[in-house]
Structures are given as structure tokens and as C-alpha cells.
Amino acid sequence: MSIPPIAALEIGTTTTVCLVGEVGPSDQIRIVGKGVYPSTGVHKGQVVDMQHARSGVEMAVKQASEESQIDIGRVIMAVNGGGVEAVRNQASVQVLARNRIVSRDDVDEVTERVKEYPIADDRILLHTISQNFTLDGQGGIVKPVGLQGAQLVLGMLLVHAKRGPVENLRAVAVSEELDVDDMVFGGLCSALAVLTQDQKRSGAAVIDLGGGTTSYFAYAGNVVAAAGSIAVGGEHVTNDLSLAFNIPQTRAEEIKISNGRATISADTGLKRLQIPNEYGKGDQSISLKAMHTVINARMAETLRIVRARLAEADVLPRLGAGIVFTGGGAEMEDICELGRSIFGVPCSVGVPLISGPALEGMRSLAPLATAIGLLKYGALAQRETSAKGFFGRIFSHER
């Protein structure tokens, strides 16, 4: 049964992205429409001005619709702001059958119990991601039905965020007369976009370095082990540069992109960077080394925060495939070198494995990883729904 085209919408702090993908018979996705428009009214991944945010959505959706020749009425949306957190919960049940053979009912019962985790009223549950089962102390069980044991335990990662920011994102889309089929954590999408099955099995963490937030999503021990976001992103790097050298935000952004580097290198020496002067002001030049120092301080601090979160979740020792960076910040020179020095594992820049006429000529797909992942999520969800099954194939993911 064929799946209709899917539209993904990501309202980022700096960029609003809308992608339209056609899903082939083997679930491969071909991107046929792309809309990318600078965002306004979004701060740290949260909508702060509805009217401003709408203008970015309107233009991005129109661009994607025109290019794909598809009328976009429904979208899946990404959530990165709102302090996304993940908490691991665990529940257990006694196996009902006298012969101690685990049944489907036992699995359903423990699954329902593990979801009964009280989250604060001002927060909303985005995803419940099943981890492995444990049966009488033996862990790592994927399919317990038919196995023998007395006590069945299930671990689950519950991903939640502040309700207000999530609903505000949805409201922006609705105000543009779009139906929102789902709200998906951006870090999850990035992982879908760039990680291979081998990487997931070996253990890998995707870190999405966005404009307003930094999100992470980690696999370890063959399950999703950690997820979350921090309201610090590329804008903080820009702001740090602006304040350090007393230059306008726009100039700081330009030099960050053109001459930024995540590490401080002795090669830089005494080189100075000439800032294009603004009319009426004197020429200005800054030390390149000082500039890299400012960037390095911010990016190293951000990555250390992520490192601490991954360590809390006991993920770090199990990252056989290392760290994969995505998002605009992944284009920063030497980001992998910085990552290696902080995490002590191999680091690489994620490349979404996807193609399509709408992507031709693009220098890098890293900034589109979240939106690409949204399309993959949407395709999986539709396939699972059409097969009358719950999500189970990739994550054992349930909503």
C-alpha cells in the first residue's frame, strides 16, 4: 500500500524548514520540495512572537509547495525548545500463567505500568520509548513472549517537554491552516536521519548543534538510552563574539561562519581579522586567536554539558560508534577535533542518507538533518499505522 507524500516542518530559532518527501515502496524517501526561510519571533527554540514566527512558516511552506507541486495541508513538526528531558522509568509484573510462560497480556500489563510516570502538569509527554525487558534478572531481552520466568521488568525512556512551548509551535502551524499530525523531538529526528543500524547497535550519540538549542539522542546497549536538549546554541556563540569585540550581531554571525573555528590553534599566530567597516565608523580588526578563544570557550562548555548528561545516563562507556554532529553548528571548522577532546570517542559530522531533486546543489545537508529525520519518522509512522501495528520495528516506540 503506497504512502502519500509527507511534509515536515521545523521552526528553528534561525531557520524555518519545510520539506516534502515522496515515500517509495521500500520506504526510501525522495525529497521533492524544500522551503528554507530565516526565522523571526523564535528564541531558543520557542515561539516568542506568533506573528513573526508565522511569516517564516508561510514562506517556507509556500516554497516547498511550489517546488513539489503539492498542496501542503498536513505537517509533522519538530520540537527542540521547551527544555526537552528524558527520564528512565521501570515497572515490573508477576508472570500470570502457572507455567510461568510470558504471555502477550504480561507484556501489555508491564508496558502500561511503566508509562504511569507522573510528569508535572506544565509538561507534556512527547515519546515513550521502550527499552529492553528483563526476565528474572536476565536483561537484554527483546521479545519475552514465550520465555519462562516469574518476574518481567520493562524499562522505558519517557521524553517530555514544557507544554507551553510545544503547544505554541503547534499553534503557529495551525494559524497557517496546517493540520499537525505529530510533534516529534528534534534530536530523535536527527538520529533517524544520520545513524545507520550498525551505529545504533554499536552505540552512538547524535548531537544536533542548532541555532537556539543543542539536542542529543543516544543509543547504548541496543536501546535508546538518553535524550534531551539544552537552550544554548549557535546564537550564543554569535552573541559571545558580538559582546567580546563590540561588533553588531550580524557582523558577529558573518565572521563566525567565515572564519570561525571550534579549537584554538598555534597556527593562527598573530593573524588579525579585518571587520568590514560600517559606514561612519572606523576600521576594526580583531585577533583571530581571540575570536577562536571565544568560540572554543562556548562550544566546549556546551559539549561538556551534554557529556555530563550522557555520563549520568551511563552512556559514555558504551558509545562504540562515537558521536555524530548535525545541525548548523556541525559545519564549524574543527568541531570533530573539539568533540574528540571532550568525549574521548570518535566524532564525525552526520550526513543524512537521502536524495531528491530538491536537494541538488546543496553544499551540506547537516542543517536539514532534523527535517529529513521528520520525514523518515512520518514514513515509519504511516507504514506502521497502515499495517495495523504499533511502532515496534525501529525503537519499540509507542505513544
Binding site: G41, M59, Q63, A231, Q249, E278, A297
Partner: protein, 379 residues
């Protein structure tokens, strides 16, 4: 006219913008450097006093966009090699556009960004449609404003209904032409006070500097009066001008550029009167900048034009001399600042000033890392 004429560029974007710019060029006469951009080849035949360059010729073949801003945006994106040579030598630009249509709404941000990437301070004057043009057109125009606010140094947003209110029972074409003439007249006055030598002259460099320091919207008004009491009357009309919006208030103004155009019969007392009355309507800390132009064309009248800036940043101190020069490559197209509640507070560069902080273990992560870690920078 002095040599700096060539450095100030008037840019019209879209059919409406080109008509406004053309009206200003006709009013001002020779000496105004103006260029227009549109996708519709017919525009160049309908305007005078300026050259009109075609956007998106390969995509749209000299036709209009049919009101589609996406097409307007794409046409401008396609035409970088046409836009750049026309704007690159400018030292300051006033960009006029009529929002609601395809090129005005879609292409103006692209052209503003191109100007910014060449280091050109910009004042964007954007009109919003007449109410009779319909809700959809007005909504499209309104939604474009945040984008323009980000890409221009200063933005004046004017409703056409505010530009022309002199009677409902006139032909539509007359209303359009009247609005066009009024805005054209106002822009030509701006050119006059900036370029014409006068008793008190501020010059293009000053306006450019003011634009560079602006961080958002500004407002624009003109007024004139003649006869006895003309100074008092003109100031009164200026402060109540419909161009200042539905509820004109000058309470939050941080800087004003006031131009006084009059003939040789302008008295010192009149100038003091104008200055004093306007200052009394402004906040005490408002920066007040006066320019006068004496021209016999204005004999018997006093004409006022004012730019009111609602948000100004202070000037940055200049950096130390360089040892070895390392030139940065040509600036990239600028990215927008985040606006809304996160907008820069007046006088501050800090993007996060006045916004909810990101706290971790009691530490505000919005404060630059190098500051919190007390890293000494050898700038």
C-alpha cells in the same frame, strides 16, 4: 549638488516601489540616483527619472509574479549578478517598497540583505495596502514586516490609508496617485535635507551613522505651513501627522532627525520655536538633530520632515591598530536576529538582555562563557 549625491541610492522594489521612487525622483529633479527592480518589464516603461532592472528574467520572462511573494523572492535570488553592480557603490540606501504584492513582499528582503552584505546602511520605507485592497493582501503585507525589520537598519511602515485620507469619495486611481505623490514628496524632502547645503547641515554621513545605530522601526512624517504662525502650525501638524500612525505618540522616541526647509525669509525665532516645541513633545533624553535647508523655492512656507527613531544603540569605541592585516572574505548574506520579546534592548548589543535566561546549576548560560570563566582575551 555635491559629490556625495552619487553615494546615496534610492531603490524602488516592485511595481509600487518603483512608482514611489519615480515620484520622488521627479520631485527632486536631477541629482538623485535611483534604481528600480521588478519582474514586470512594463514597469520600466511606466516610470521616469530612474533605471529599472529586470529580476528573474529567465524564470518569469518579464512578467509579473501575480502577487506571489515566493516567486518574487526566487526572482531576486536568481538575479544576484544584476542586483550587486547596481547597489555596490552606494554608501547609504533608501529602499521603497509596496508590500502585499509579489515582488515588494518577496524580493525586498533579498535586496536589503544584498545591501547589508555590501556594508550599506539602509532605511526601508514600506507601505501597507489600502484597506479596500482586501484582507488577504493586507495580511501578506503585515507578515512581511518582521522580515524587513530584520534586514533593514531602520524600517518605516506606512499604511496607504494614512498617507491619503483626504476624502473617501474620489476615484481609486486618484487615491493611488495622491498617495504616490505624497510619499514621493516626503522622500524628496529627505534627500533635500541630507544633500542640500544649509545653514545647519547634517549630511549623508550623519544619516548613515544614525541608520547604523538604529535597531528597528522608525517613523516618518512631513508637514508644511505658511503665513503668520507658520512655525507653530507646522510643528503641530507634524506631531499629529497621520503618517505617524493611528495614535501618534512620541513618548518612546530615542532620536530624531528634523529637517526644516524654508526660504530666505526664515527667522531665527521661527527656527527656535520649531525646535523648542518639538523638543517639548519628545522625551528629555531623546537625541535631537536639526538640519536646515534654505531654498527660494520654499519662500513663504516652512516645510518640516522628521525621522523618529524608537530604538538606538550607542556608538562602539574603535579598536586598536592592527599588527598584521588578515582580510576577512566578502561578508556572507546576513542572518536575521531573533525578534519579538528577545529583541535587543535600547543601547545594548546583548541578544539575550531582558529575556528569560538559561540556567544550569545556578549559572546563567546566556552570559558569555569567556566572561564567566574570566578568560583574558588579547583582542
Amino acid at each position: 549638488m555635491n559629490d556625495e549625491t552619487a553615494d546615496i541610492l534610492l531603490v524602488g522594489v516592485g511595481g509600487g516601489g518603483c512608482h514611489f521612487a519615480s515620484a520622488a525622483a521627479r520631485r527632486f529633479g536631477p541629482g538623485i540616483r535611483a534604481v528600480g527592480f521588478d519582474t514586470d518589464a512594463a514597469t520600466s516603461r511606466m516610470v521616469s527619472g530612474m533605471r529599472c532592472l529586470l529580476l528573474g528574467a529567465s524564470r518569469l520572462d518579464g512578467q509579473g509574479t501575480g502577487g506571489d511573494a515566493v516567486k518574487g523572492h526566487a526572482a531576486a535570488d536568481d538575479s544576484a549578478e544584476i542586483i550587486a553592480p547596481a547597489i555596490s557603490s552606494a554608501r547609504m540606501a533608501v529602499v521603497v517598497t509596496a508590500l502585499g504584492g509579489g515582488v515588494g513582499t518577496g524580493a525586498t528582503p533579498v535586496i536589503l540583505s544584498a545591501l547589508r552584505s555590501h556594508g550599506v546602511p539602509t532605511l526601508c520605507v514600506a507601505t501597507l495596502p489600502f484597506e479596500f485592497e482586501g484582507r488577504e493582501r493586507t495580511a501578506a503585507a503585515t507578515r512581511a514586516l518582521p522580515v524587513l525589520e530584520e534586514t533593514a537598519d531602520a524600517l518605516v511602515a506606512l499604511r496607504l490609508d494614512d498617507l491619503y485620507r483626504d476624502g473617501a469619495d474620489v476615484p481609486v486611481s486618484e487615491a493611488m496617485v495622491a498617495a504616490e505623490e505624497r510619499l514621493g514628496d516626503a522622500i524628496s524632502l529627505l534627500w533635500s535635507i541630507v544633500l542640500s547645503p544649509g545653514y545647519i547641515s547634517l549630511g549623508p554621513a550623519f544619516l548613515a551613522s544614525l541608520l547604523s545605530q538604529s535597531s528597528g522601526r522608525c517613523r516618518f512624517a512631513v508637514a508644511s505651513a505658511e503665513g503668520d504662525g507658520r512655525a507653530t502650525e507646522a510643528v503641530g501638524l507634524l506631531c499629529r501627522s497621520s503618517m505617524l500612525g493611528a495614535s501618534p505618540s512620541l513618548e518612546g522616541v530615542q532620536a530624531v532627525l528634523l529637517g526644516v526647509l524654508a526660504g530666505g525669509d526664515l527667522r531665527l525665532k521661527e527656527l527656535s520655536d520649531i525646535s523648542g516645541r518639538l523638543r517639548s513633545a519628545l522625551p528629555q533624553e531623546c537625541s535631537f538633530n536639526l538640519s536646515t535647508v534654505l531654498d527660494e523655492r520654499y519662500a513663504g512656507t516652512v516645510r518640516l520632515i522628521a525621522l523618529f527613531f524608537d530604538s538606538i544603540r550607542p556608538e562602539a569605541p574603535s579598536a586598536a591598530e592592527s599588527i598584521d592585516e588578515f582580510k576577512a572574505p566578502a561578508p556572507h548574506k546576513s542572518r536575521r536576529r531573533s525578534r519579538g520579546d528577545g529583541r535587543l534592548a535600547p543601547g545594548e548589543r546583548d541578544r539575550f538582555q531582558g529575556t528569560e535566561g538559561t540556567f544550569l546549576d545556578g549559572e546563567n548560560l546566556d552570559i558569555p562563557t569567556y566572561q564567566r570563566l574570566r578568560i583574558r582575551l588579547d583582542r
